[in-house]
């Protein structure tokens, strides 16, 4: 009971920040308000028992995104503002809202409940059981998720790291500046 009320108030906060971020005409204010959105999302991830995702959201949302966006508006022009909020195109809002409601209406009832007996993950129960039973003997890592990410599919993760590194190098080339010198 208390849990669901906490979730509902948090959802109201997140929706409010997201809509305000989209509607602000002044980009600097939008960046600041986007920081508040990131705060709400971090609390929500924590509430859903995913503190690792919340830590990433804290580092990326509050730290990196703000600085990257500030660098972007430093390189471009900041439009002068005559009014505070963007004009809302209501027919578009209605159309997109109806589309989203139809999507949720069709998709959400098909989703399997958390911990359900007939969840698709149990269709390959042998595979799931293998990782649960043998992870520590195979890799010496206590957390099964970490073991799958860093050991069983280690080359895949390495490839992802290479992609992220290449993207970082590309950003530095575009900025034409030694930011960490």
């Amino acid at each position: 009971m208390t849990m669901s009320w906490f979730a509902y108030t948090l959802m109201v906060f997140i929706l409010l920040t997201a809509v305000t971020t989209a509607l602000f005409r002044d980009v600097l204010s939008a960046i600041v308000v986007f920081g508040a959105y990131s705060l709400g999302m971090a609390i929500f991830y924590t509430f859903l028992l995913a503190p690792d995702v919340a830590m990433t959201e804290a580092a990326i949302g509050a730290g990196v995104t703000t600085i990257l966006l500030l660098l972007t508006i430093a390189r471009t022009t900041r439009p002068s503002t005559d009014r505070l909020f963007e004009r809302v195109h209501w027919p578009g809002v209605v159309a997109v809202g109806a589309f989203a409601i139809v999507l949720l209406w069709t998709v959400l009832p098909e989703m399997v409940a958390v911990g359900a007996e007939d969840a698709p993950v149990w269709a390959n129960a042998d595979v799931t059981q293998y990782y649960i039973q043998h992870t520590y003997d195979d890799t010496g890592v206590q957390n099964a998720v970490t073991a799958v990410l860093a050991a069983y599919r280690g080359f895949d993760t390495f490839g992802e790291a290479v992609v992220v590194f290449a993207a970082g190098v590309a950003v530095l080339i575009v900025l034409k500046r030694e930011v960490f010198a």
Binding site: A36, A58, V179
Partner: protein, 95 residues
């Protein structure tokens, strides 16, 4: 007196929900402004609020490692204020 039937965990989560209501009220300042500095200060206060909410959740859900997230937020909340202050003073010198 706290009613033992309600439980201390529920009490902590309910307090966290009240802090979220406070966050929504504080967000009024972030919308109204009038300057970007007002908004920055409002979001900074929201960040401190977030640390409190995360700590209450850690106590209420009985997961002490949530405090790590709260600590990271307490550290990083500062970063955005510094970056935007530097940006407004030096006009583009962010890093």
């Amino acid at each position: 007196m706290i009613d033992p039937a309600v439980g201390l965990d529920e009490f902590f989560v309910a307090s966290a929900a009240l802090f979220v209501v406070l966050a929504i009220m504080m967000f009024y300042r972030a919308i109204a402004g009038p300057t970007t500095q007002d908004r920055l200060l409002a979001v900074n206060v929201l960040g401190t609020n977030t640390v409190v909410i995360l700590a209450l959740l850690a106590a209420g859900l009985g997961e002490p490692w949530f405090l790590d997230v709260a600590l990271i937020y307490a550290l990083l909340n500062f970063l955005m204020a510094v970056a935007i202050s530097k940006f407004t003073v030096e006009r583009g010198g962010v890093l």
